[in-house]
């Protein structure tokens, strides 16, 4: 089990303090989307998830995670070790399964449009990728936080990680805060 300090556990549990956010957009009463300022509460889970799932990541997602500080270490370590949560993984699996069914239905109408992958390959392709992305992002965030807990977790993670991209992310993260 990766070492995580008591203080970070407490800090994470105490993170019901919501973060002020955001300039969002809204629709006008007329239905036309127009710019509108709105203040909305965002939980730490949101902040972490935004970083773990972003693709372009150009909206300050990593910076927001580092602001969470040591309280973010515990869920990041858990993500580095175990990837997606069971609930998220099952939701994605279910969704991909449904999409594959739709492709088969399409192929029944148009035989030339047959999936190149089996159902298992199709689901694994995307699900594994999301899982790896979560782990590499967790490593990057731990590197950016850079405290003792985070470094210890990265070192332990390096010993356990199998996928080359995850290993590289951990190595880079350890370099980052050397």
């Amino acid at each position: 089990m990766t070492h995580v300090s008591r203080s970070s556990l407490i800090a994470w549990s105490a993170l019901c303090v919501r973060l002020a956010v955001a300039v969002l957009y809204s629709t006008s009463a007329a239905g036309a989307p127009v710019a509108k300022r709105e203040t909305r509460a965002v939980e730490p889970t949101h902040v972490l998830a935004a970083w773990l799932a972003c693709t372009n990541c150009d909206r300050g997602e990593l910076k927001a995670v580092t602001r969470l500080g040591s309280s973010a270490v515990r869920p990041l370590v858990a993500t580095l070790e175990d990837g997606l949560s069971d609930a998220t993984s099952e939701l994605l699996r279910r969704s991909l399964n449904e999409l594959y069914d739709e492709l088969l239905e399409q192929a029944r109408e148009r035989p030339q449009m047959k999936p190149a992958s089996t159902r298992e390959q199709f689901i694994a392709r995307y699900l594994v990728e999301v899982d790896i992305n979560h782990r590499t992002r967790a490593a990057q965030a731990l590197g950016a936080i850079g405290n003792a807990d985070a470094r210890a977790a990265l070192k332990e993670g390096l010993a356990r990680a199998h996928h080359p991209r995850v290993r590289k992310a951990i190595t880079d993260a350890l370099q980052y805060n050397r």
């Binding site: 006008s28 989307p33 858990a78 069971d86 991909l96």
Partner: protein
């Protein structure tokens, strides 16, 4: 006898709730009489969004429903019968009703929901419940809210899963309700006729019709119904039946200063766009002959066989999305193998690699070219550099809309998303991406960007589909026109964040 069926309701797309903490928007129109048709229920897993929450094994749900139109929502558990439901602690505006939980407007709690049953993740499905007098309720809500008729009223449902005090997962739905377009004229009333023909007599048709025209209001005044102002939306309605569809519509008038056009959207036919000349007298008949879907050649360039396999599947997903959302096109892929060196050129030079690819003969002119390079991000290169702000986007030079590269595997709809840009949904900062357009778009939309978790984005709105078929901009417009697959006469300068009498709102939609 009428040979068509008027579907006086917007059918919600099967609403798989892939929100994972974000908002899903469902638009529905309410017919003047009868109930709206609702899609499949939205499933939600019970449990933490991320690893590392306490995972005590039982979660407390705090549910907030702000319902102006709905009577409430119902929750059904995949693996819970009526007896299991009695084990839950329920309070607020929630009650058990047989094998379901019914939630009415207000705040409610359901405590101690186990995340797993016999080792399997427990899922709950959410469906809206409508009042019997929903058309009256909607009319009343529209008049009391001050919202212009034809626009939407939003009901919001938020479910936050807690582990103790900690919020660990969140799902949000915005149901946007609006009245359906007017019903067929009553027997004996004065009307005009729209006749829509498919390729063959008796062919099954399922079309959405958008009409801009001058009409008489119930008070007798004449006005333009054409979108482009806060007073009016485009008139949009769905019809199904066999060819020819003969559709009576309330008497339309000579156009005057109004726009007088018809667009027809169909999964199996290319989008029709044409002018219509109505007279002030009833009895006009306007005939439209739909043409087959546009077959869009797409050249897929790949290095590894696994990328070819991925590309094949993503072309199928994109085609499904284009047909399902009535874009009126299907993709016809041709696969070409790249060398490792050529792949490296694209990885290094990104959009600027278009020049090198052309020189090397690794590019087919006047056609879509998509390069699966298996590393980095994804881009359509219509604009060389992504503008940081919409206001300054005009300063950004044109690239090549036919050049797209896809990097690391992300989600199955990624190709469809990038082709949305190729077909003119750009710049991303001018609502080419629909992130943060609250109440108008959620994670269900294909052009929502920057998260790879939402695996089943399914929607292009009609406002997006219209632009994909007609866009004219300084970056080459839609590649459908640039590549000679649609007529230049269809061109419209309709940036995603603009609307006018020639450009429907981006979120105009009807299922």
């Amino acid at each position: 006898m009428l040979r068509h069926i008027l579907l006086g309701a917007l059918i919600a797309w099967p609403s798989v709730a892939l929100a994972l903490g974000a908002r899903v928007v469902e638009r529905m129109c309410i017919p003047a009489s009868g109930m709206p048709l609702v899609g499949k229920p939205a499933p939600m897993p019970i449990g933490c969004r991320l690893r590392g929450c306490l995972e005590s094994g039982a979660f407390d749900w705090r549910i907030s429903i702000d319902a102006k139109i709905l009577d409430g929502v119902e929750l059904r558990f995949d693996q819970f019968g009526a007896a299991d439901l009695k084990q839950l602690q329920i309070s607020g505006h929630a009650r058990i009703d047989g094998d379901r939980i019914v939630l009415n407007s207000g705040d409610s709690r359901i405590d101690r929901i186990p995340d797993k049953v016999r080792g399997t993740v427990n899922f709950v499905s959410l469906s809206p419940i409508f009042r019997k007098d929903v058309p009256v309720v909607l009319k009343s809500a529209l008049s009391s809210s001050g919202v212009t008729p034809g626009k939407g009223i939003v009901d919001q449902i938020t479910i936050v899963q807690h582990d103790g005090l900690e919020p660990v997962n969140r799902f949000e739905w915005n149901y946007v309700f609006q009245p359906c377009a007017d019903s067929p004229p009553a027997s004996g009333a004065a009307y005009d006729t729209l006749r829509i023909e498919g390729a063959a007599l008796g062919e099954k048709l399922d079309v959405v019709v958008m009409i801009d025209a001058r009409r008489r209001t119930p008070s007798g005044a004449k006005e333009c119904q054409q979108g482009g102002s806060v007073r009016q939306d485009d008139w949009v309605q769905r019809f199904t039946g066999v060819s020819p569809l003969v559709i009576p519509i309330n008497n339309l008038l000579t156009s005057g200063r109004c726009n007088s056009e018809i667009a027809v959207f169909s999964g199996n036919h290319r989008m029709y766009l044409g002018r219509a000349a109505w007279t002030d007298q009833p009895g006009d008949v306007h005939t439209i002959k739909l043409q087959p879907r546009i077959v869009v050649p797409i050249n897929i360039w790949y290095f590894k066989d696994e990328d070819k396999s991925r590309a094949n599947d993503e072309v199928l997903v994109a085609t499904r999305l284009f047909i399902g959302n009535r874009v009126g096109i299907e993709l016809e892929p041709k696969f070409h193998r790249l060398s490792e060196k050529e792949t490296e050129v694209i990885k290094q030079q990104k959009c600027k690699a278009a020049v090198a690819m052309k020189k090397m003969g690794r590019y087919i002119v006047n056609a879509l070219n998509v390069y699966y390079v298996a590393e980095g991000t994804d881009r359509n290169c219509a604009i060389v550099e992504t503008p940081g702000k919409c206001e300054t986007s005009d300063k950004h030079p044109r690239g090549d809309g036919n050049f797209t590269y896809l990097g690391t595997i992300s989600a199955p709809f990624t190709l469809a998303h990038e082709l949305g840009h190729a077909f003119g949904l750009r710049p991303s900062t001018c609502w080419g991406h629909v992130n943060n357009l609250v109440d108008a778009f959620g994670l269900e939309n294909v052009m929502y960007a920057d998260t790879f978790e939402a695996m089943l984005r399914k929607r292009f709105t009609l406002g997006q589909v219209f632009r994909m078929n007609t866009q004219q901009d300084k970056w080459g417009g839609t590649m459908l026109i640039a590549n000679g697959l649609r007529s230049e006469s269809d061109q419209r300068a309709c940036r995603p964040n603009s609307f006018s009498k020639h450009c429907p709102l981006l979120n105009t939609d009807l299922r």
